[in-house]
């Protein structure tokens, strides 16, 4: 292993002290002079026609500065399907539909004003089951939406998710064993500790500044700029400034109605307007994980070699469209490429309903698909009479493989991950007892080297060095708590021969920072890391060149270690970095040391058949769990949890383990306790009392095992690890429950009631 100074070190996150002492400024903390407070009035019905609105009483309330509705604001269409607008006119299609908004001098006044707005509705019948909404003659959510070949009104979106490789039907005929199941996944909320919010303000020239929580500053900037154009402010500029983000997990990968409402209110009032969600709003008016109904069949030969995988899905799109509808593009990844499966077919339909609409959420569909695949693998292995551990090993991906979706598998530590989990669980000893205790495992694949979702997967970095040798890294990356600030600092420090504390990473302002497509697809360490490393190399070249003059040594004979430039030939020839820079700045004809680098990884967009090498490298992992099931109450207790991940290289093992712990904890909640419960479209548990996120006391001891495969394309060998930690959690737990008591739960969350009902069904 190479001898690194900064890479591989357990360095606490740069802003950890600010955060734990309450000094970090979150959007909640931000106050701007003259600021007004915005509040939103939501629909009281899941589907209704707006007949009449009267805002006069609200407008008369002292302290109210503006009342906006869909009738007195310009039409701004947003979301990638452009079917959403900030304030709804004519019709509401879900309980989270925004019908009016108020800006007032005080949040209580704004709230009171909402109560004075009178809206008359004609209640329409509503539809909540996507399979019902697909049927011929079903009532239409958006009457103007046309789809299919005939361009007829329909609730089915024009998103033809379809991946075919090989001949599934033929392979099925030739399979010795075929398992067929239906799995159902429901909504879960990101549960960011910091609720959503923003502050929007205009300057006198009508340029917009928005303080935001976004994890996609450059793309959000584009969205806001489009909104400005729709408001008649064409050519005006939008500047996005990020405050400290109180958790994102994909929730801030799109722009939301509340942000446009803040912009509209700020424009109307000529004052800065702040909107902050209550926890209740955070639960019902933000977009949860995409639910799915999954019909899956997998087959194998007599000796347990995969023959085919055939998956059909119906996705409840809700009333509007955000990135949830594109999760099939990622679900394809495990469906086509988790284990070696020669014949693959995947078809998914997204269907409008009067429910809430979904968004990106850590794993982006992968946890849903992996739950179905990995749960069923245990069933298929049982049919074939093969230990599921052996079944997985037999079919595991290996380096050099090209998958049916045309992914080039380069480094791949899947077998190592499976192996270490089996060892830690004492697999052969503990499995198959059915005595109330059981063990299970599940694996995952995810993009680990960026993901070319857009035409570019790039990220820019600017580095400059000041008089004292302080390195300013201005990155396109977004730190949303995951540790981008720290990992980038380590990479730069390693490359430049300085200490991590010498590096200041700026990542908060679109007026300053270079372009980046956003913090998604576990791409930041890989893409922003490679970008930062590239910029560092250029800066280093400049430094050595500048130093060569003052030290009288050829640049190629110079290097930097611990803030000092020295000659590799004559160690006496050396100078502190700051001194070299000062000399450069204070000399006639001097220069500043600064470089930029744009890194766009050599990965491919998926083609029309949804094939292509989406990522430069892929991340693998296996989770293993031991559970105890109380046969009387149905309660599941996790006794042991092992999470092994092929991470390429751990740039910062402390932060990396944090990602794994956080992912697994989130995954355990997804598996056992968490559910956003919608009753006829209405979220009935919009609080932490009844939305059962795990508490600190509930999180079991999670053992994170780091498998390093030193990926040649990664910065110092690293792959992405942001999402993987929760991808295989739920199926590993479901498999362990099966091993413990012999029941297979195919719907999340696996509540005690479901376990008990299945146990009863089994003994019938």
């Amino acid at each position: 292993m190479q001898d690194f100074i900064n890479i591989g070190k357990r360095i606490p996150k740069m802003d950890a002290e600010d955060k734990v002492t309450g000094k970090a400024v979150y959007i909640q903390d931000l106050k701007v002079p003259g600021m007004l407070w915005g509040k939103i009035l939501y629909s009281p019905h899941p589907h209704a026609r707006i007949l009449n609105m009267d805002t006069s009483a609200a407008e008369r309330l002292p302290g109210v500065k503006a009342v906006l509705t869909g009738y007195n604001t310009p039409l701004i269409k947003f979301g990638f399907y452009k079917d959403n607008m900030p304030l709804k006119a004519n019709k509401v299609c879900s309980y989270r539909d925004e019908v009016a908004a108020v800006a007032a001098t005080d949040p209580d006044i704004a709230e009171e004003a909402l109560g004075l707005i009178r809206v008359e509705y004609e209640i329409l019948p509503a539809i909540f089951d996507p399979e019902d909404a697909m049927k011929e003659g079903a009532l239409l959510i958006h009457e103007e939406h046309l789809g299919g070949k005939e361009k007829k009104p329909t609730n089915i979106l024009n998103l033809p998710w379809r991946l075919v490789a090989g001949d599934v039907d033929e392979a099925r005929k030739n399979s010795a064993h075929v398992a067929e199941d239906r799995f159902k996944l429901t909504w879960v909320n990101h549960c960011c500790m910091g609720t959503s919010g923003c502050v929007a303000r205009f300057d006198l020239r009508n340029n917009l500044t928005i303080y935001s929580n976004t994890q996609i500053p450059a793309l959000a900037q584009r969205d806001y700029t489009e909104a400005l154009a729709a408001m008649g402010l064409e050519g005006k500029k939008a500047r996005v400034i990020k405050t400290t983000i109180g958790g994102a997990f994909g929730s801030k990968l799109d722009t939301y109605a509340y942000e446009y409402i803040a912009i509209l209110l700020a424009y109307k009032t000529r004052k800065p307007v702040k909107i902050i969600f209550t926890r209740e709003e955070e639960f019902f008016a933000t977009s949860p994980r995409q639910p799915a109904v999954i019909d899956i069949a997998q087959g194998c030969t007599k000796d347990g070699t995969f023959t085919f995988r055939d998956v059909r899905m119906v996705l409840d799109n809700g009333a509007y469209t955000s990135w949830g509808a594109t999760t099939p593009s990622v679900m394809m990844m495990p469906i086509s490429s988790l284990y070696k499966v020669p014949n693959v077919r995947y078809v998914a339909k997204c269907v409008y309903t009067n429910n809430t609409y979904s968004q990106a959420f850590r794993g982006y569909g992968n946890p849903q698909a992996t739950f179905a695949i990995e749960s069923q693998i245990d069933a298929l292995a049982e049919m074939a009479g093969i230990d599921p551990l052996d079944f997985r090993m037999r079919n595991a991906n290996t380096p050099g493989e090209v998958t049916p979706q045309h992914f080039n598998i380069t480094t791949c530590g899947l077998r190592e991950c499976i192996d270490v989990v089996a060892q830690k669980l004492d697999w052969r000893q503990n499995r198959g007892k059915r005595d109330g205790r059981g063990i299970g495992m599940a694996s995952m694949i995810h993009v680990g080297g960026g993901a070319r979702v857009y035409k570019s997967d790039g990220c820019g970095t600017i580095i400059k060095i000041d008089d004292f040798g302080t390195v300013n890294v201005i990155t396109g990356a977004t730190d949303m708590g995951q540790g981008a600030d720290t990992v980038i600092a380590q990479i730069v420090a390693e490359e430049l021969g300085v200490r991590v504390e010498d590096v200041i990473v700026t990542h908060t302002d679109t007026d300053i920072c270079p372009w980046d497509v956003g913090a998604h697809a576990s791409r930041t360490t890989f893409v922003a890391g490679n970008s930062a490393r590239g910029a560092s190399k250029k800066v280093k070249e400049q430094l050595l060149e500048v130093a060569s003059r003052s030290l009288g040594e050829n640049p190629e004979n110079l290097d930097i270690r611990d803030r000092t430039i020295f000659s590799k030939l004559d160690p006496e020839k050396k100078s502190p970095l700051g001194k070299i820079l000062r000399a450069s700045h204070y000399t006639a004809g001097g220069r500043m040391v600064m470089a930029e680098h744009f890194y766009d990884p050599p990965n491919e967009n998926l083609d029309r058949e949804f094939k292509g090498n989406l990522s430069v490298t892929y991340a693998y992992g296996t989770h293993g769990v031991e559970v105890e099931v109380d046969k009387e109450t149905g309660q599941v207790k996790i006794l042991k949890y092992v999470a092994a991940h092929d991470v390429g290289r751990a740039i910062n093992p402390m932060l990396l383990e944090g990602q794994v712990y956080g992912g697994a904890a989130m995954g355990i909640g997804y598996a056992l306790t968490e559910q956003l419960i919608l009753k006829n479209g209405k979220v009935i548990n919009p609080d932490f009392r009844d939305y059962k996120i795990l508490t600190a006391a509930d999180v079991p001891n999670i053992e994170a095992v780091v498998i390093e495969t030193d990926d040649p394309s990664g910065p110092f060998g690293a792959k992405g690890i942001g999402e993987p930690g929760l991808v295989p959690t739920a199926p590993a737990i479901a498999n362990a429950i099966y091993d413990a008591v012999g029941v297979r739960i195919k719907e999340l969350p696996i509540t005690p009631e479901k376990v008990l009902a299945a146990l009863k069904e089994k003994t019938k």
Binding site: D108, T633, Q635, T673, F688, D690, T695, A697, P752, L756
Partner: protein, 288 residues
């Protein structure tokens, strides 16, 4: 949240006088872990909140003679009180699993009873100890047994002009053993799907159950005693068959509803499981 005035009287008399002055517009507040939440959720909208925090003596535990716990004693105090742990361990156990440490630091025993949630954490334990509540008004004091105090979900016998002053706990007979069990979805910050308290007095020589007290929570409009089940146990030797029968019987004595936390069927089933488990646990384990 609707704005309100916050009044903090220093004596019980002052508090009672404010209460009659403001009538329906006022609401008492102790720890505030329920009152403030209900206010935010617009389930209550008082003009005046009268805090009991400033009143001397309401946060005291008195153990000389009759055992009394002031209404303002917090759950944190209860779970850590050596006196309570020794004499009323089921109450200490119940308080120790209520909410989280942060909540227990402010939430009070009186508040838990006055909120009158069917799943009130401390209610089953207090029911098996046959606790009484002392209600005071400007005119009089009255003592009520808990079953007559609880009237329905969120409803108590507390008159608008009354304040719950203290909880009175008679000493259980010697040789009493018990258990409090809570079934929830998480280890903290959770409401019970079902909770059960069992207190048994066994003849030390014969092992026969002389006296049984069983209480159930979250399975009826109010926490309740399972009196028929108690009768089954009393006068009998507690063997496996009888314990299972007791569980089955308790199932019949409750009337759970289906809600977001559990279905009626599951709750009923869990009453049987928890009652049987609690009996077994009581018999096996000596008092903490």
């Amino acid at each position: 949240m609707k704005k309100f005035d916050y009044l903090k009287p220093h004596t019980l008399e002052e508090a009672l006088s404010l209460l009659s002055q403001y009538g329906d517009k006022a609401r008492l507040i102790a720890g505030g872990t329920d009152a403030i939440v209900m206010n935010k959720q617009k389930k209550i909208s008082p003009d005046v909140l009268i805090s009991l925090q400033g009143i001397q003596g309401l946060d005291q535990i008195e153990s000389n003679g009759t055992f009394k716990i002031g209404a303002l004693v917090t759950h944190r105090t209860i779970e850590q009180s050596e006196r309570i742990k020794k004499r009323f361990p089921l109450l200490a156990e119940a308080s120790s699993v209520l909410g989280s440490v942060q909540i227990r630091n402010v939430a009070t025993l009186g508040g838990n009873l006055c909120t009158a949630s069917p799943s009130a954490e401390t209610a089953p334990s207090l029911l098996v100890y046959e606790a009484e509540v002392l209600l005071v008004s400007r005119m009089e004091e009255r003592r009520l047994s808990l079953p007559s105090f609880f009237l329905g979900p969120g409803e108590t016998a507390l008159d608008k002009k009354e304040i719950l002053k203290e909880i009175i706990l008679p000493s259980p007979p010697p040789n009493s053993l018990g258990a409090y069990l809570k079934l929830g979805r998480r280890k903290s910050v959770d409401l019970s799907v079902v909770n059960v308290a069992v207190l048994l007095t066994l003849d030390p020589k014969t092992g026969i159950c002389e006296r049984a007290r069983i209480a159930l929570g979250a399975v009826a409009p109010t926490p309740l005693r399972a009196k028929e089940t108690e009768k089954i146990l009393e006068g009998n030797l507690l063997d496996e068959r009888l314990i299972i029968r007791a569980g089955d019987w308790a199932k019949q004595e409750c009337s759970p509803i289906t809600d977001i936390r559990g279905s009626a069927e599951y709750r009923r089933e869990m009453v049987a499981v928890l009652v049987a488990k609690a009996i077994k646990q009581s018999v096996k384990l000596p008092r903490k």
